[in-house]
Symmetry: C2
Subunit: 224 residues, 2 copies
DNA sequence: GTTTCGGTCGCACGATCGTGGGATGTCCCT
DNA sequence: AGGGACATCCCACGATCGTGCGACCGAAAC
């Protein structure tokens, strides 16, 4: 699957390791459709050039470099040049680093175990709107993703009745018994009874604790 | 990057399109290190075979097929054969489908725009513990991921003081004034004053509403 | 047919809360 | 020297809450 872009893709390389930087540069020079227009040993060196009139399509960034940490660098680049695809290329595979980079707006995350050819392919994918990732990184993202989603969806069973759940929802909305009674067209005593059962089932003794438990454990919808 | 597995990777193919199924089968036959041991036109056909003593390393599954929907199929397969890597191979790129599949436990998600060679490579990556994805899919996952994280982190500013936030945290834990006073080594009156200010700033009039607002808007950590 | 469960209603009492006032002291800012 | 923000403490009053106990009814379950 070769993408046919009209002109060469321009790339900046920000990488502190000189020998790695040069080998990437040389390899790119021999490639069709790819052109590394500038390279820098650190983000600080690249920073002033971010005001240039001609900016690259893709910025290849090592987030292990000295000085400003890579995550802040991503944010700064995006602020100054939102059009650039930022590809992280690093030796670090700590989930924390990876997630931080993604949340900061990186388009992809590659490990240096990848070959130069794979890096080049990843650059093309990024320009095509893809999000290239080393499989190992993809695995971590997927795991975190599904655990986040699972956490957002899990809902322990306290076997609340429909009416009890209904009352609980109103409590979560901050209504007091009197108001809940009005909404449900029943007496305050009835509401009190329902709340009593809810407390028993949730093993709490105060409205505060009940609301807290309900929200934290997703017993009611979190949407106001 | 060729993975050197001692024996051939065994694969099942579940795919309703007969001609696509056959072309994949033929292609795999010509490949080293890959063996498609069974193929089925639907999940229902594969189901009884999930009790076989010899089960595949990877199951290639089309989630657009008739009968049982693909998402439930993933869950069923994982229940019966947790060791298998499930790779989704489909024409559907609706984010909803993708996220559901991932949350159900798919190891990767490929679009049928991928070449057979790419599918084969993805199978190897999956066995190596990776999570192969078409770049387009990766992009969607990354976007959703960072928006989820951003949502989980956003926190409106009610300019609560440190002490007020501290008291609010205890309220969210379900403590009553008396208990909070004890924890902070101050009098109940002091706690009452702090709570009063919190109510003013959050624009609420009951403890319930305050706790609800605090939890929903991430004013305090949601970890119990 | 009797039991069980869910929902409804009632009363009473003490505990807790929300809010109106106030007061004192510390720290920081200018 | 003065003002503002913050934290601390106090009192009093009515509203609200938590919980003890008891009751009725309809539907479903045994």
């Amino acid at each position: 699957m070769i993408s046919s872009t009209p002109r060469r893709i321009t790339v900046w390389l920000i990488e502190d390791n000189a020998s790695y930087r040069h080998s990437v540069l040389r390899a790119f020079d021999r490639m069709e459709g790819l052109r590394c227009t500038s390279s820098f040993p650190s983000f600080e060196d690249a920073l002033p050039r971010l005001h240039d009139p001609t900016l690259p399509d893709v910025i290849l960034l090592d987030v292990g470099l000295p000085g400003l940490d890579g995550i802040s660098a991503i944010a700064r680049i995006r602020a100054l040049h939102p059009g650039a695809k930022i590809l992280i290329l690093t030796v670090f595979d700590a989930p924390q680093k990876i997630f931080a980079a993604i949340c900061a707006g990186a388009a992809g995350y590659l490990l240096k175990t990848a070959s130069i050819a794979e890096v080049a392919e990843a650059i093309r994918q990024a320009v095509d709107g893809g999000a290239p990732m080393t499989p190992r990184v993809a695995k971590l993202v997927l795991e975190r993703f599904s655990s986040m989603a699972a956490h957002a969806l899990r809902s322990p069973d306290y076997s609340l009745t429909d009416r009890e759940r209904e009352v609980l929802e109103f409590m979560v909305q901050g209504l007091i018994k009197k108001e809940i009674a009005a909404r449900l067209h029943v007496s305050v005593h009835t509401v009190a009874t329902h709340i009593r059962r809810v407390y028993e089932k949730l093993q709490v003794t105060t409205n505060t604790a009940a609301v807290s438990k309900a929200l934290r454990e997703g017993l009611v919808s979190s949407r106001p």
